[in-house]
Subunit: 164 residues, 4 copies
């Protein structure tokens, strides 16, 4: 794993997200198609997604925005308020998420829409925690959903190529 | 309603889809936020979505592709086969759907991903029918999901503006 | 004009961008199709684009990120460095821009790609200024290009509807 | 090269497009950054783009639509007319193109917008030919631009990784 990969893994960890959490979300998204798939089998795809520069840039930007809102360090208090309240129509969090999903094709976007509504696993935990005082998880839950959706889509495409 | 609007409403009807069916899907997508909302209240949004030129062009293109595949009139038999089998990784059907959703912002894409997986109402009917011999609904189910997702998103944005 | 509209106009002004600058970019994008069009005629479209909530959220987020990078207030120094250098492959600035363009259809995205490369008018000024010490315009030039591209696309669609 | 790759290369050729034509467009898009780059150096990227399933599906769908419009075989004469006239606001052609570009990140979309307006090389030839009687190149020129834009973006990302 390269430097920037490790930097992003550390950022995710700092926000309470492990690669296993993301692989578990990806497994959930593939469960209808592969009942006995384990989250370990999705780990390669999660790591491949995380190695892409545009994904890393989205992660860094998302984590920074959540932290700045959380710490009250934004100069624009309208924006800070919207992020702290996790305003459902804010929309820029999903825009960043789509920047990740798009790299893995249209199936990844469908996967994202589904897990974003179902709020499975770590996404639910992040979302609940974000409702607490002084915690802002507005961006990170969407970023995690997007990485999982992208990893599930990558897995599905490779699996089909191998003719399974 | 203008000429092209009517043309598209007729095309949808020819494929077994009424505006009421779409409004019902939009209602389903808003039900978590507005429990007592009726599908009639979403009809204005459905019609507004249908009045956009890019939406109309997507509908016409989608219906034509389904019909040509169904009637065996494509010169590319690889493509025709993928459409007739509703190949899950074909992806172009979702690409057209996103062309519609994008016009209504990032919430519309999330809505689409959700209803595409849940296959609610007419979307489920289309999908089931598409498995039958000689019926190809590969594009239309996604287009219907996209119009419903766009209409639900339009409704949510307007509702928030009015401060309800 | 509503409160949030004014807030965003003020943010743009703070970063050296007037609505006239944006209308001039939109005019440039329409000049091939309408030779004698004035920037005043595009002002309605610029204001309509600016009145959309998702556009306002993108503006606020973009301006905040540029300012924080400029003032050295980010906790992630990798990210701050990328923004201060206006790293050509950073990509999240364009992702935010597409979040705006998408609302106005596929023509808006093509418009954006063109003006982003040509760096016309205020976009060029912002880009040049961003190369100076202590100025970060990484996001704002793309946001301005996106608003202009969206306004030009909105104008073209309305113009065609009226049959001109 | 696999079966489907060869099928798509043959379809492109049937429509008057060689891989060399596409590589030349990609070279044009990279010329500002790498003055002495040859189109041969971009061929690996062109082939990599063409090997993706979603790209192949977009190519097949685009070529089929152009051919059916050209041959007057569409049942929807409104749609057929829009395609034959290469209606500038039709928009679905660009939607398919973005489905390709998105796979290679936000830089690819900017590249596409630029080459779509400049109409370089084979894109110009296709566009001119499409104005002739009985020729419909409405989709293919955008698809070719998208593949070139994606290949140029892929090259830029790899080149940066290698630290050149």
């Amino acid at each position: 794993m390269e430097n920037m990969d490790q930097h992003c893994v550390a950022l995710l960890k700092e926000r309470g997200v492990t690669l296993e959490d993301i692989a578990e979300c990806a497994r959930f998204l593939q469960a209808d198609y592969h009942q006995n798939l384990t989250r370990e089998e999705l780990m390669t795809s999660v790591k491949a997604v995380l190695s892409k520069r545009e994904v890393q840039n989205a992660i860094m930007t998302a984590v920074e925005l959540d932290k700045l809102a959380e710490e009250g360090k934004m100069s624009d208090k309208e924006l800070e308020g919207a992020l702290r309240r996790d305003e459902p129509l804010y929309g820029v969090d999903e825009v960043l998420a789509y920047g990740i999903c798009n790299l893995y094709g249209s199936i990844a976007l469908t996967n994202f829409g589904y897990i974003d509504k179902k709020k499975y696993g770590v996404i639910d935990r992040l979302n609940q925690a974000g409702k607490g005082d002084g915690v802002c998880n507005t961006f990170i839950d969407d970023i995690v959903g997007a990485i999982a959706a992208a990893a599930a889509s990558r897995f599905a495409h490779r699996d089909a190529k191998e003719g399974n």
